[in-house]
Symmetry: C2
Subunit: 223 residues, 2 copies
Amino acid sequence: MIDIYESFENLNEDKKQSILNAGFRIFGEYGYSKASIEDIVKEARISKGSLFYYFGSKKNYFLYIYEYAANIMKELVDSPGKNGIPKYMEKTDFFERLEDIKERKMILAFLHPHMGGFIKKAPFEVSKDIFKEIQLINQRLAHERIADFFDNLDVYKFKDGVEPFMVLQLISWCSEGVVNQIQIKNLMNPESKQNEIDYNEVIQLYDQYVVMIRKNFYKEEYL
Amino acid sequence: MIDIYESFENLNEDKKQSILNAGFRIFGEYGYSKASIEDIVKEARISKGSLFYYFGSKKNYFLYIYEYAANIMKELVDSPGKNGIPKYMEKTDFFERLEDIKERKMILAFLHPHMGGFIKKAPFEVSKDIFKEIQLINQRLAHERIADFFDNLDVYKFKDGVEPFMVLQLISWCSEGVVNQIQIKNLMNPESKQNEIDYNEVIQLYDQYVVMIRKNFYKEEYL
DNA sequence: TTTGTAGTTGACCAGTTCGGTCAAAACAAG
DNA sequence: CTTGTTTTGACCGAACTGGTCAACTACAAA
């Protein structure tokens, strides 16, 4: 990321975030080719000229926000703890580590609500040559993260026959599901704010599921 | 659904399914306005002229496949048993009912792999006036289905403190997650068939999760 | 063989939308 | 004021849009 884009990077933070999030949302919803600059600048509340002034082309803009997103994801994985060790590694309990990740994920979801969807859809959109490798990198990162998560973990606390990896998977699907559910509920309610998500509501519901899972998958002596 | 569309309905089954599925996939992926007829007829492997010969307009085509999908969903809910009673109601055990629904869902997913995504996205796409009510109907149907599912069910078999509705929700998210996971795995594998899903693989993985959930959420005497 | 009919095609149409440009306006700081 | 930096939206040619239609195929009836 060279400083070709300094005109963009010198913008104030609110505007930058708005421009990034607009890209995440529109590209994430329609994909690269079907997402129009018009849609994006309307969402970001800037003029078309400005976007081309900052990035030069649609492709550059896409690559820029993709790289931005990838960096954020990497930071989330590396989770820069105080002493070089990822912060959540200090805990050895499954659900305590989970809490730590939850917190970081929530902050991210608050800053960039549509980044997840964008990252998911992006690799399948532009010329395969470039993105096949990026996709592989992402996959590798995900695997490493999972491996890290289980490193030095108190797996013995789970009941016999309960596979900790499956539990992590289940909870991950659960968190996605909870967000979706709240989102749909909001869309049904006409007086709710357009795309805002009440994360307190999300966390509250999510926690209910985690509690239920913990209570039944952990050995009684560790509850 | 009047017989204005008899030219379409007289087509052989394969062709009809192909045309329906193309609509489900393309509308489901891009939404009504961003999905082009060109995309759809290419996916369905028919000519543009034919599609307009069958349906007259893009809007008619969309409404037709939406109504088709809604009817299928309704049938899935009503689940026409032999004697008027939905077939799965014969069983009073949570997981036995689930098995019954799983089977029916798998058949549906095999016939119309992208119908779910289409149904989810459709109501937010065209003019709100028409679709707000449709959406409400869908919501009501879903609620009824859930109410039916819990009607005369052996809820006592669950451990104390386990909320059966949450378990159903969890399993539902789980099945979505499993399908996604297999799909991504296939996309990574370059030699796999483009959009085909190996449902045996899906079921096998899904069953693992259900077994784990059943084993830990049911009282021991009912295992 | 000829004729009639239903089904299918893709080149073509006019209108819109696309990514991208640019002259002018707005702004900032002397 | 001057000078330099941002920001704007009308505008451009090209691409794409939903929709049309004359020509064509397939096949059955006569």
